[in-house]
Amino acid sequence: MVEIKELFLAAMRTLLANKTRSFLTMLGVIIGVASVITLVSIGSGLKSYIADQFESLGSNLIYVVAGDLSSSGAGIGREMMSSVYSSKLEEKHVEVIGNLSLPIIGVSGYFELPMEAKYEENDFFTTGMAVDASYGDVGKIDIEEGKFFSAIAEERNKKVVVIGAKLKEELFSLRPALGKEIMLGDYSFKVIGVLKEQGGTGGLSSMGVDNVAMIPLQTGRNVYNRENLQNILVKVEGEENIPMVKERIEKKLLDYLEEDEFSVVDQKQMLDKIGSILGVLTLALGGIAAISLLVGGIGIMNIMLVSVTERTHEIGLRKAVGAQPRDILIQFLIEAVVLSFLGGLIGVIMGFGGSLILNSFLETSVTWWSVLLAFGVSVLVGVVFGVIPASRAAKLNPIEALRRE
């Protein structure tokens, strides 16, 4: 029996003799593996990021949202979007919930509107969040300067606004913002507070807390002529009470609304829903990248077939001096596997690198399963696509092979 080590050395010798070709062959696998890892890291980064944001909003939250979430498994995005404007949730439901004798810290209703914010020559596309004053008790509001609007300001229908850190920077850069009037759509609002920077997109606001312009709910309702609410947030006292509170709210609201006009979900359910959507997204991204891995594999097969044709004479000579078909098979298979293994390894490193670079723009997190999968598939690809050329080499008739130059 020939030692595998010897066949390995013979294979390595060939690969090193054709460095450029070996590298270009590996490139397909490198790109495939790197893109699988990077794309999956984007998907899973997004997932953990959104989870973080939900958690940063504060724990023990229950959301009352418009529409029926329970019926459609993965339809949260669409359901939420289409139900924003047709929402049947109103302020009286906030009151109803608040009046229940439940272990509740606070109840807050709000709606969002995309709008343009302007100050002097600066403008910025933002999300206006019309919230009631108790949003400060329910959501997490950290004021950098100024204050959050009081219940009185809200009732008096004042045109005041609390802006996110990013929005402040866009409109005022380093200039003071407190007391200035900014335009939100067609109306002028006075800045009474600036929020602390929280980073990224956040919480329930689709644009992120840092970009947001928060205005009193009453004001928003009058100015923008809206009756309904998008969501109602309920903060529960004590995690153990969540299921009970949820059930009670659900039951109570059924007195006012139809079953399919609202859903009561807790944070965990919300995360699960979003998680399942992003899971599908991650798989789709990974799947697309996996195609390039397949193409890389075909590249290996192609080069190995060329290599067999090119080295027919050598194969003939090796057979003439006593190489078994098995020895030739293994030598060529090793070449293919080394190419894909090395390509996979470099791809893993590049995948980590790519994810690291992207991390400065958006949150990414490399998952161990994507690394394992991409690397495993690349090695498998090497074996599978190496077998055909290798067995062709092994089957060559020595005398015909020797005759070929």
Binding site: R13, H313, L317, R318, A320, V321, G322, Q324
Partner: protein
């Protein structure tokens, strides 16, 4: 070392035939070859190109199969050999010398000579020792680490001879070993092959140079795939 038993049977061919048929052209390369070769013989096979002499050598060397007839080779029925067993016999019992040397261009002289030993599963230390010894025997002790391209034709052929002998085979098959060499190098190579035969190895050599007959113990002539003469010398 090879045993010098007097008359053990090396090749025994009976009504050996080889037909190449690709569906369009049918060529009868060998017809009814009856041939017995004993150990220690130095057989020279003459014939013009296309006479079928390389085909015969390839069949004797288990590189090719006859389409008819029988061949016994050192006690084994050639037609019954698996490709694995044939590879093993080529590795251990037969040494090939080719007209075009057939050295692997990226390997040094030493590595080329080592090659058959790799397929015998011999460890590196012993391989090196044996390959070096053979290269010394063919007078290339100073060229061991040269690539084939850095060697003259005669030197390359000596590397090939060292490779053919490194596994101590009983049989050496040489297909026009001097065909690509100038007359002086050719002479040296023939002297070397004659020496190999004196050590007890059976040599089967193809040529169309009639002078080579002087080295041999037996001269065969092939014409149109048939043996037309068989002379024993001395």
């Amino acid at each position: 070392m090879v045993k010098k038993s007097n008359k053990s049977l090396i090749f025994q061919a009976k009504k050996l035939g080889k037909i190449y048929d690709n569906g369009i052209v049918r060529v009868e390369a060998l017809k009814d070859i009856n041939l017995t070769i004993y150990s220690g013989e130095f057989v020279v096979l003459f014939g013009r190109s296309g006479s079928g002499k390389s085909t015969l050598m390839n069949i004797l060397g288990l590189l090719d199969q006859p389409t008819s007839g029988e061949l016994r080779l050192i006690g084994e029925e050639a037609s019954k050999l698996s490709s694995q067993r044939a590879a093993k016999l080529r590795n251990k019992r037969i040494g090939f010398i080719f007209q075009t040397f057939n050295l692997l261009p990226r390997m040094s002289a030493l590595e080329n000579v080592e090659l058959p030993l790799i397929y015998s599963g011999i460890n590196q230390e012993e391989r090196l020792a044996r390959a070096k010894k053979k290269l010394v025997q063919v007078g290339l002790e100073k060229r061991m680490n040269h690539l084939p391209s850095q060697l003259s034709g005669g030197q390359q052929q000596r590397v090939a001879i060292a490779r053919a002998l490194v596994n101590e085979p009983d049989i050496v098959l040489a297909d026009e070993p001097t065909g690509n060499l100038d007359s002086r190098s050719g002479q040296e190579i023939l002297d070397l092959i004659a020496k190999i035969n004196k050590q007890g190895r059976t040599v089967f050599l193809i040529t169309h140079d009639p002078q080579i007959a002087n080295y041999s113990t037996r001269a065969l002539t092939l014409e149109d795939g048939q043996l037309i003469s068989d002379h024993k010398n001395g």
